[in-house]
């Protein structure tokens, strides 16, 4: 099995319930390293929920329940992310997420990007500013904002805000990046910039992309999945 070497995420028999109604039924999936895996399908079928099972974010939502097994390979070993001893904050620093609507926090551009560092308790200012710059550069935003890092992040355009959110997710160097329709609230041009950015990021991250746009999926994804009727099917 030469492939196992490259497997990043291993999902086995995943069930998900909301209010005791199953949303996901018995999903098993392997996701290779440094690829973009696209998930498409009708809306309201739990694509976002599927993403949230990978960083345990669903735990913040009431009346939800999960069954099954998810392993992610950090370094050389697979880790069961639902292990009781596994720290959920650490997990989310390794598995970043970008949402459908850009969600900059009500603070300056710089502080937005540095926020995850603050959460982690890293107080080294010089190292911090270096990492912020690096994250902004990797998300193609540095040139546009380098002169106004102290401005309110919410004053940026929609596309810029979304790249800011990607930069914010990247500042901790995550190994996996979950993208929940990152271009759906943007115009075509801004969307294209984000697509280019994602292709560039493939060398560092394993990405799972939820998207409505089949053409987008075709352009950038390495493999495509469809989620419908609570089942996940490989499309190509």
């Amino acid at each position: 099995m030469p492939m196992t070497e490259n497997i990043k995420i291993n999902i086995k028999n995943l069930w998900f319930y909301y209010n005791d109604h199953p949303i996901l039924e018995d999903i098993s999936l392997e996701i290779p390293q440094n690829t973009i895996t696209a998930v498409t399908g009708p809306s309201g079928q739990g694509k976002s929920t599927f993403l949230m099972t990978l960083n345990r974010l669903w735990e913040s939502i009431e009346e939800t329940r999960i069954k099954g097994h998810i392993e992610i390979r950090f370094g050389s070993d697979f880790q069961n992310i639902y292990d009781k001893r596994y720290n959920v904050s650490d997990l989310r620093r390794q598995v970043g997420m970008v949402f459908q609507v850009p969600n900059p926090l009500p603070m300056s551009i710089y502080n937005n990007i540095a926020f995850p560092l603050k959460l982690k308790g890293e107080n080294n200012k010089t190292l911090g500013s270096f990492r912020v710059e690096d994250a902004l550069k990797r998300s193609f935003l540095w040139d546009e904002v380098k002169d106004r890092l102290n401005e309110d992040a919410r004053a940026l355009s929609g596309g810029q805000q979304q790249r800011l959110c990607i930069a914010r997710a990247l500042v901790l160097n995550p190994q996996v990046l979950l993208l929940d329709e990152p271009t759906s609230s943007l115009d075509d041009k801004s969307g294209r910039v984000i697509e280019d950015l994602l292709l560039e990021l493939k060398k560092d991250c394993t990405m799972i992309l939820v998207s409505h746009y089949l053409d987008q999926v075709k352009r950038i994804a390495d493999s495509g999945m469809v989620l419908s009727d609570r089942q996940m099917k490989q499309q190509w």
Partner: protein, 294 residues
């Protein structure tokens, strides 16, 4: 024919009632202004004492409203200092930590606390004081501290409720941002959730301040007196504006004292309405600023 008649009646009735109520309010305010505007001057507040001397406590004001206004301010400050941390912590617990099963009973209890007549809370404060005085600490009397604590209980449910509701109504996107970046629950609460619901919480606090400023029943049982001067410590009796109004209304000795009562009414009304308007302004302005979305 007939339906139109009802329609007209309905119209007249609505107009009539609205005019009646607005008229009643205007009468009340107009009556106070017509009788009290002459007494609104520095003399009303400071009597014959020089204002600066009074403010820096160099000399005391005897027949002015200054001690009552100062007493009310001390009272508000103290009770808010007690009520805010307690109310915020409880509101956070209800919104973020409380298991749904016991949430119902908790909120029922706070609704009941909000509904208890204030005089009952005052009586409770009075009796606890007497009890403590009798069995533990004989230097404890009904005083500023006791009044402030009792008032804090009275406004506690307002702060709890506004905190809880402001937190609970935050959109999921705001709620999930920080956790997705590795924030712990506590970090999420302090860095994102509380700042985002600040406007709602603040306006709740300001409304509670208004409640502290206006309540009379609690303080008349727990330490407000007719003459006290500026309170020396939290263990002193004190004067307060609403109590002064009550006191004057029942026992003014001459017309000039009654005039001071009208003046005090206008000042208290002004304070309370300003706080109310301020609360609404904060709610509106801050929410535009903080909950701004492109």
């Amino acid at each position: 024919m007939k339906p139109e008649f009802f329609d007209r009646l309905f119209n007249y009735f609505s107009w009539g009632c609205s005019i009646l109520l607005v008229g009643a309010v205007l009468t009340i305010v107009g009556f106070l202004i017509a009788n009290g505007y002459q007494s609104l001057n520095l003399h009303l507040i400071f009597d014959d004492t020089r204002p600066l001397d009074a403010i820096f406590l160099k000399s005391q004001v005897f027949d002015g409203l200054f001690p009552a206004i100062a007493g009310t301010l001390f009272l508000i400050t103290l009770s808010i200092i007690v009520a805010i941390p307690l109310g915020l912590a409880t509101g956070i617990f209800l919104a973020e930590y409380c298991p749904p099963k016991i949430k119902g009973s908790f909120s029922l209890l706070f609704d009941i606390l909000a509904g208890i007549p204030s005089i009952v809370v005052g009586l409770f404060g009075f009796c606890v004081t007497i009890f403590l005085h009798h069995y533990f600490y004989t230097r404890l009397f009904p005083c500023l501290l006791i009044s402030a604590l009792s008032l804090a209980f009275l406004v506690l449910p307002y702060i709890i409720r506004t905190t809880q509701i402001s937190l609970e109504t935050l959109p999921l996107s705001v709620r999930l941002t920080a956790p997705s970046l590795g924030a712990t629950k506590l970090q999420n609460i302090f860095y994102v959730l509380l700042p985002s619901s600040l406007s709602g919480i603040l306006s709740g606090i300001i409304l509670s301040i208004g409640r502290c400023a206006e309540d009379t029943a609690v303080i008349m049982l727990t330490g407000a007196v007719a003459t006290a001067g500026i309170p020396k410590s939290v263990f002193s009796s004190f004067e307060a504006l609403p109590f002064y109004i009550y006191y004057i209304s029942s026992q003014y000795s001459d017309n000039s004292e009654l005039m001071k009562g009208y003046g005090a009414c206008l000042i208290l009304l002004f304070i309370c309405i300003s706080l109310f308007v301020f609360a609404h302004w904060i709610k509106k302005r801050l929410s535009q600023k903080i909950l701004y979305r492109p």
